[in-house]
């Protein structure tokens, strides 16, 4: 064991010296990966909110909207990335569009189901107190759907962190750049680094979102039974 560590070099599974020499790259790829993930989930959430509002307001649109976002979800991401290259060229935008489209199904469904899950009695009481419909939607319905919405954001974020490793293929950087680099040179160290970091980022993001949810829903932590 000691011998192997001392013998650490380019042929090892992980060549630690290489890692030490590329900390700047690690930082840059992390920034790219995080940025792409946050933009994708952020834009996805805004669009999903609009689609969910539409679905809730005009119930008949929910079927077509889930159908359309479902189709987007099933398109293999790599296919979509390369499909967009001739149109938008290589880079951030080309990576972003498929990522956003990937989040929509999960987010729309969680928002709509979250709002549907708000007890009828609470909605009726809010109406009876004299809430305007839009005001009730924002400060009662959406507020109470927070746990379901955050749950959707968590799934979307973790999925996107995984998908962003592929976007290096269309020149958007991220941890995937380490992996493609390693693959092209048959050099395992960057592959291990890229994979490990993307898993770590997914875990960190998930934990961060759990904390956000706790802060946003103080009522859920207390009490015997949440009605």
């Amino acid at each position: 064991m000691t011998a192997r560590v001392l013998a650490n070099g380019p042929d090892s599974f992980v060549w630690w010296a290489w890692v030490g020499d590329h900390l700047d790259d690690v930082r840059d790829r992390t920034v790219e990966h995080v940025q792409l993930t946050l933009w994708a989930v952020g834009i996805g959430l805004v669009i999903a909110m609009a689609l969910a509002t539409l679905s809730l307001r005009f119930r008949w649109t929910y079927g077509p909207i889930t159908w359309a976002t479902g189709v987007l979800y099933t398109i293999p991401s790599i296919a979509l990335f390369f499909f967009l290259v001739p149109i938008l060229g290589l880079g951030f935008r080309t990576a972003l569009i498929p990522l956003v489209s990937y989040t929509l199904l999960i987010l729309v469904r969680n928002i709509v189901e979250g709002v549907d899950g708000v007890p009828e009695a609470v909605k009726e009481a809010a109406d009876g107190m004299g809430y305007e419909p839009w005001r009730r939607f924002v400060s009662v319905d959406l507020r109470l759907a927070t746990p379901a919405i955050v749950a959707g954001v968590r799934i979307a974020s973790v999925t996107i962190v995984g998908l962003v490793t592929v976007t290096a293929l269309v020149g958007a950087g991220g941890y995937g750049a380490f992996i493609t680099d390693g693959l092209s040179r048959r050099f395992s160290t960057p592959i291990v680094v890229g994979t490990t970091l993307s898993v770590a980022l997914a875990v960190v993001l998930d934990v961060a979102l759990v904390i956000v949810e706790r802060l946003l829903t103080p009522w859920a932590r207390r009490g015997v039974a949440v009605r």
Binding site: P119, E120, A121, V122, K123, E124, A125, A126, D127, G128, M129, G130, Y131, E132, V140, R143, L144, T146, T217, P218, W219, R222, G223, V224, A225, V226, R227
Partner: protein, 371 residues
Amino acid sequence: MTLEGSGEAIRLVGVRKVFPGTDQPAVDGLSLDVPEGRIVALVGPSGCGKTTTLKMINRLVEPTAGEIYVQGTEVHSISAPELRRRIGYVIQQIGLFPHRTVEANIATVPRLLRWERARIRDRVHELVELVGLDPGLLRRYPSELSGGQQQRVGVARALAADPPVLLMDEPYSAVDPIVRARLQDELLALQARVHKTIVLVTHDVDEAIKLGDCVAVLDVGGLLQQYGPPAELLRAPANDFVARFLGRERGLKRLALLTTDDVDLIEGPVVPVDVTVDVARSRMAEFGVEWVGVRDGETLLGWTWGADLNGSGRVGDGPLQRFMAAVAPGAPLRETLDAIVLSHTRVAVVVDDANRYLGMITIEQISEGIR
């Protein structure tokens, strides 16, 4: 649109509701006046349109035809949210906002009305006291409260902006009978202080009788069968439906509403303490009873069996028993009747706070009184 000089807080005129996709109206041609400051109970079997009627008052359900006035204002002449902020609303499932503290829940309507912070805080504390909540609960969330506490918060929230009108939809059906009885008593005590105009929907005829100053009995399809004070309905049901709905023991239910003031008290077989046994015996014979009451001035001392009166002395010489069945003036007749059937003498004596004897009541008097 204002009805000048109207003594009615709520007025329904020819109200009809047909829900889309049905032929049968849920409510048909309903006209009802709810007097200011009174509790009106809408009661009937399921499908009688009582809840629909209630929800038309605050426009949670829009009527198909007819007019509804609240405090003289036709409900469609202002926006629905504006109307609802003037009307308190309590529902069976209470519907507290689970994401808000008790304090924020109670403050809902004042916040919608943009009251100042200090005013809202003062009002919340006033309400907590009014509905009998522990102020320590203000920072809690609804899920941390018992059913009864949640119900009180629901009432406090409905009363927050001091609306003249309160609508209550089956407010006590979700709590157990013991809590229900207490909350009903609390509502009556509360009403004695705030004098709101309350429309209360219930399927429980006993609750309607207990809480309503007036009771409206509806049949399926929202057809008004009878509307009047509960004692009136019990005395003279308008038809078989009302009679059946009021149920058995109509007489007993009426007794709960009537008091000793509603019957004529009799002096009864009572003699002054210093008369002779012979006088007492003739008094007993006059009333056809085997016992005699003994009084000293206005104070009732007790009673004794005729058989225990001895020889030729005064009635006060022998041992006396206390009247077990003594009631205060104004006591419900049901309680009085209960006292009578449990007593040896088959009478209830009415004695006031100062221990003065006012008279006695027998089953005959009660029977006369409820006829």
